[in-house]
């Protein structure tokens, strides 16, 4: 790591940015922190209702279908979605890396791969929602029985569609923002500006979306 900062730098003595971070990037961090609380509140509400219920639908029974392959394959489709998002996170970090080098072509190439990953994830989610809707699940209706065989409340589908919908909306916004900054990079806006910090900021948002999926995946599909 080519750290050019001396260890005893006096950050607060004036003349320097005390956090050594550009304003927009710092604010992106604070936005993401607040967004983490929003998602956290959703997931904890889900957890509270789930532990207060005597029984709950078994995710391996609910999520067991794969496009064109039929059903009886729990975990398979959601693993695909998870890997798509991890890979798109990697391509994003590579775009940021190329941005550090000021390599315009590299930035555009990896941003396009990131956008493709985001669109692939959204398509998967659209398929899953359509499939569950087809099976009779939606806000306010839940055809899936509890794990112990009793009839379940609609809490399960309400939380599932609300939380994955909120996450999917974040992915959608991320894809739109990625497309915008890719066009800006292509038109040479960042080259003229002298730095690719905008790619870093958008990258932070995109990684956050991946991070949230880690927990949505964990609490809805795995445990």
């Amino acid at each position: 790591m080519a750290q050019t900062v001396a260890a005893n730098t006096k950050w607060w003595s004036g003349g320097k940015s005390p956090f050594n971070v550009e304003y927009g990037k710092l604010m992106m961090w604070y936005f993401l922190m607040s967004d983490a609380f929003t998602f956290g509140a959703f997931l904890i509400a889900y957890g509270t209702v789930r532990v207060s219920s005597p029984s709950w639908p078994d995710p391996n029974f609910v999520f067991q279908s794969f496009p064109f392959l039929g059903s009886g394959m729990p975990l398979l489709f959601v693993s695909l979605m998870t890997f798509i998002l991890i890979v798109s996170s990697v391509t994003m970090v590579l775009a940021v890396h190329e941005g550090h080098h000021g390599n315009k072509k590299g930035v555009i190439k990896w941003m396009i791969w990131t956008i493709i990953g985001g669109l692939a994830f959204l398509s998967c989610q659209a398929w899953e929602w359509a499939h569950l809707h087809h099976e009779g699940a939606w806000w306010g209706r839940n055809p899936f029985p509890n794990a112990d065989g009793t009839v379940a409340t609609t809490n399960f589908s309400n939380f599932f569609f609300t939380i994955t919908g909120f996450h999917g909306f974040h992915v959608f916004s991320g894809v739109v923002i990625n497309i915008i900054v890719t066009i800006m990079a292509w038109r040479g806006v960042f080259e003229r500006r002298g730095h690719y910090l905008m790619i870093e900021k958008v990258g932070l948002y995109w990684h956050f979306v991946d991070l949230v999926w880690v927990f949505v995946f964990l609490f809805f599909y795995l445990v």
Partner: protein, 148 residues
Amino acid sequence: MEHQTFGGEVTIPHGAPTDDSKKRIWKTTIILSVLTIVELALGYWIYKMHSSGDYSHGLVNFLKGIIIILSLAKAFFIVSIFMHLGDEIRNMIMTIVVPLALFIWFIIAFLWDGISWKDLRNEYRPKDPVKYEQTAPAHGSTHEGGLK
């Protein structure tokens, strides 16, 4: 390049490009993939135990705990390596991480409340345990979603 100026604000570049950082990206990718595969394997194991019907709740809860810990590890790698938070100045990291410590209270308090709600209900209305819940309404009616 000694420093960069953004709108009059001097920022010294950190996490500057080296061949190291690319290696670190690939290493983190592999770690994240392996952790995900382990999680899926444990999830599949739980599924197998559930479908055989012969399992101990202790073991299932233990496995679920491991999966949660692995997910927290994934979160750490994404935030510190992919989002480069680990390369920032310590004070800046603390302004992000310390507020998130509220989650510790948040999770304990709310889950405790949920469990206690269930226990109290089963204790005081033992003849009417929250076992058989209302039938999920068929297509259409969207209200009456909660527990009865």
